[in-house]
Every structure is written in structure tokens, then in C-alpha cells.
Symmetry: C2
Subunit: 336 residues, 2 copies
Amino acid sequence: MTDTAPRPTLEAVAARAGVSRATVSRVVNGGDGVRQALVERVQQAVEELGYVPNQAARSLVTKRHDAVAVIVAEPESRVFADPFFARQLRGISKELTAHDNQLVLLLTEGRDDHARVGRYLAGGHVDGALVFSLHLDDPLPELIQRAGVPTVFGGRPGWSGGRDGVVYVDSDNRGGARDAVRHLLGLGRARIAHITGPLDQTSAADRLDGYRDVMVDADPRLVEEGDFTAGTGERAMHALLARCPDLDAVFAANDLTAAGALRALREHGRRVPDDVAVVGFDDMPPIAEQTEPALTTVRQDIEEMGRLMARLLLRGLAQAPSSVILPTTLVRRASA
Amino acid sequence: MTDTAPRPTLEAVAARAGVSRATVSRVVNGGDGVRQALVERVQQAVEELGYVPNQAARSLVTKRHDAVAVIVAEPESRVFADPFFARQLRGISKELTAHDNQLVLLLTEGRDDHARVGRYLAGGHVDGALVFSLHLDDPLPELIQRAGVPTVFGGRPGWSGGRDGVVYVDSDNRGGARDAVRHLLGLGRARIAHITGPLDQTSAADRLDGYRDVMVDADPRLVEEGDFTAGTGERAMHALLARCPDLDAVFAANDLTAAGALRALREHGRRVPDDVAVVGFDDMPPIAEQTEPALTTVRQDIEEMGRLMARLLLRGLAQAPSSVILPTTLVRRASA
């Protein structure tokens, strides 16, 4: 690629200010040892020429970019299809902007591109990284560690037990799942099914654990694996109804899954909540409010999770706790 | 921020390979003049240690980052709310990924953050930029020109007449608008209203020009300004019905605006298309297909627009045409 616009150089600034290149460089990089009168002359020349220092060179001196990478370990199409990511990014964007840091979202088509993301992180373009939606066998954590970039994870990484210096923010997935199932038991339901998320993600595994904490002797046929999408929620519900036609409640691992399950229940002529009560997870607007009937669900504060991830990173990880777990709350609507 | 992970250094690679620092540096940067046997020893040491070269330093030599910035000149919340941007990004992502270039999406909370985006672009972190949804008085083009980064614009920039080296991809907005209005005239409609987009964007201004090309003597009260959102489309439709209750057709500047207009028409008890025919612009799934009734609209190939922007940039702008205009086609459904 070729440059299309002329760009004022360091030399041009030096010539205009009547000082040496080295003096301009020192002023631009905020270095000391330059007389105030010269500083002002250089600053005026910078202003007049519209000079922008070459940050690639400058960052070798200052080691700061005022930029933070955000990586969602999902294909680009998924990032834009699932409102969960938009909410998390909203929290991150607000916090980074408040501190005049640039949000650098690194999009990919899938896991094959993660090596390239690792190269960009290692390339000295950002001061840190925020990573979410990791899957268990994802090469990203390894690549990030090699890149040596301070990182905060959204959601507990599956391997966190084995590594030092890992910082993450998560919701109380297991506790929230227990609340959901207890609520269904409290309504007198006995045959409570669970449609899980993708079990290579800790959020899904933790919610399944929460379900099992309460349903200690549950019929294993009442659990069906999903992947946090509506399409799979619908298919899983069909499978559960075929296998256990006597089920009287479903705890879905997120709201999109619950929306799919509601569709399947409607197709089978099962009334919600009369025949089958349904609880979701997330409390994701507009999904949870617009389902028919409106969805009882476990609320997690996704935007706050994003904000907190950014805040921990900006404050510096040396002082950070290794994890922050946000509480969840049950929101009761018509579906259970 | 502090580093949380150890990172193998150039020195460590040199020690392991039993060569000098300079030799490692030359091999890593693809330089010549190193014997093949040494190249192989260095490469093996790099592999074994998991060494990642510091790209900030390397890019000073190679001037390549294999990364392209994408900037949507809208607040982050809008980028995720309007499916138009997701589609354009999909085309860009596919094309960049096919060439192993990293998509670096620079998100902002609004125009106040554009100076920071300019600094990032000037900082030597990307090889080029793709910019869309510019508004007329936006400081971005000026900042991008100062940064000296090769850039392709999505949509004709309002100031393109005055500058050299501007490259853009656009749809035939004016021709598409003419087709829409002619279709309505062909259905025997005479009082055809137009809800515009934000008129500080050339796409909206061009569509208004196309409407006026056909409706040469149109009643000026039949034109109401909108901003490409459904909420404003609804409000504009209410205003038009109050002012010109005899209108029998509406050309909306995009599908979201048309969806809002349909809501307002329903509230007023006007049947579509019997009382009022409606045509949109974009053919944006799922909007255009899911409106009630399904929307007749002008299709533009948004994903292809994104792909083409990326392709022009990667090929190098020295050989690029100054603009590429993609054709539009009218898609007939129930609303007109």
C-alpha cells in the first residue's frame, strides 16, 4: 500500500522551530532536559504543521499506546448476532473512553485466526487485552501469555487453576443456576430438565454444576447439551420432549436458548407455564421481555462485567485481585 | 499496567542458537546475508522458546503490520444496533482474513473520540484504514490525511471533489431512489412522500436527489427529514400524515425507517399497500422480510461493498480507481 497524503516530518518541525531533530524528539516524547523556551517553540511548530509523532517509534521509548485490545473468542458473525457481546462491549467502551484509551476490537472469522491475533498483541500495538468467550482448547491464552500483554479475562478461564497471574471477572454462574432450579422446585415442579450451554466454556459447565447441586438425583436423560443459540435451544427441547414427555419444567442455560425452547414447546402444544415452566439466564433485553410469555430468568450485569474488566486492567494488574465474582438475581416474569 | 507473563527475549534466542543478537534480528526481520545453516539454527531456537519478535521494533524496519483499521463514524451503541454495519463488516472481515490481515475495529462513544482514533492511526499500528458512515462536518478525514494512512471510504465523502487521492466505494443511491419512485408512479400513486436519512450524509442526500429527479414538481411538504432509525421513521410518518393526509405512497430512505413508517401507518389505520404503498432501501435481512407486510425495497449489496473496500486497499491505492459505484436493484414484495 502507498501513502496517499503528505505528512509533516520531524525534520520539518525541527526546521520550523529552528532546533535540532533530537530536541524535537525529546519534546514530543515528554522527555526532560529541554529549556521551556525551546519546548514552547517546538510545540508551536508542531501545532502549525499539524505534526503527528510516529507512535511506533515513540512507543519504543514510552511503552504506552493508550489503547486496549478486546478479543471475543467467537467468529465475527457470532459477535454481531448475540446481544450478549454488544452489552459487554458497551461497558468496556464506556470505561476505556472515560480514560481516553482507544478500544481496539480484534475480529476474526474463527479459531484459525487466533495465531494472527496473537501476533498483533505481541506487536506492541496495545497496552493490554480484554478477552472473553474463551473455549477450553482455545490456543489464545497460550498466545497471549507469549505476547506478554497484561490481560483480564471475562469469565473464568478453564485452566486458571494452573497458572499464576490470571485475572478474571465472572458472574456467579453456579449460584444463579441453583436459584433458578430452586425456584422451579418451589413452584412444585419435579421433572426439571436442563438445556446446557457449550460445555467447553466454564460458564456453561458452572451452570450445569449448579443444576446438579440442587437436582442431586436427577434423571440424566433430563440434561441436553446446547450451545447458547436459539436454534439449538429449539432442537434440544424437541429431543427432551421426545425422551421425557412427562417433564414439567426447563432451566435453559441462557435467554436465547430459552427463546428457542419456548418455540419448540409451542409447536408441541405445551402451555407455558401451565404445562412446562421455563427459566432462562442473562436477562438480556429485548429477548427476555419479548418472549411469549415473558421470561423468568437469572439476571447477570453484563455491562458492569465489561466495565470492571476494563477498570482492573487500567488500574494495573499488579494490585488486582485474581478474580471478581458478580452476584446474580432471579427476575420473575410469566414463564415460571 | 504491568506485564504478567515472562516473555522470551532476543538475547535468549541468540544464546540458545549460539549466534549474535544482530544475526537473530536479521533472521527475524527476513533480512538477507545470513548463511542458511545459521537461519535454521535461529528458527529452531525461536520455535523452541516460543519467541515472538517485538513488532513495534520490527515494523520500523519492515513498515508492515498486516493489519487494517476499520472505523465506523458512529457511536459504538449504533454500530451494534444497526445491522447495516454488521453486514459491511462481514464483507471486510472475509476479505481481510483471506489475506491474513488483522481486522482492527476502532470503536468510539462518539465524535469527541475521533481525535484519539486519529492518534491511533498515526501511531503506526496499521497498514491502512477503511472508513464508513462519515458525516459532513466530521473531523475524521482531516485527521486521517494527517496520519498519512492509505484509506478507502465506504460511501462518497461529501468533500471528495476538493481532494486528491480519495478512493471510495458506494452504491448508486441516486439511481436506486429514482427506481423506487418510478415504481410507485407506475402503480398509479401520485402523492408520494419521502422520509430522508440524515442529510449530512451523502447517501441520504443522493437518495433525496433521486426522489426529486422523478418528482420534479413535488409538494415540498411531502419531504420529511429522518436519520436512518426506526424511531425517527415512525415520528416522520406521523408528521407527514398530519400535514398531507391525502398521501398515497412513501419512499423511506432505508429499511429501518420504512419499518418505523409502517408502524405509524398501522396506528393511523391506513392499510399498506391499499391506502399507502411503502418502499424502503437496503433490502436488509431480516428487516425487509419480516415487516408486515413484507417490504418492497431497493437492494444494495452491502457485504460486497465491504469486501471491495478491503480489496482495493490491499491491492494498493496507487493503481486504484478513485471510485467504484455498485448497482442497485428493486426487490418487489407486498408493501408496494
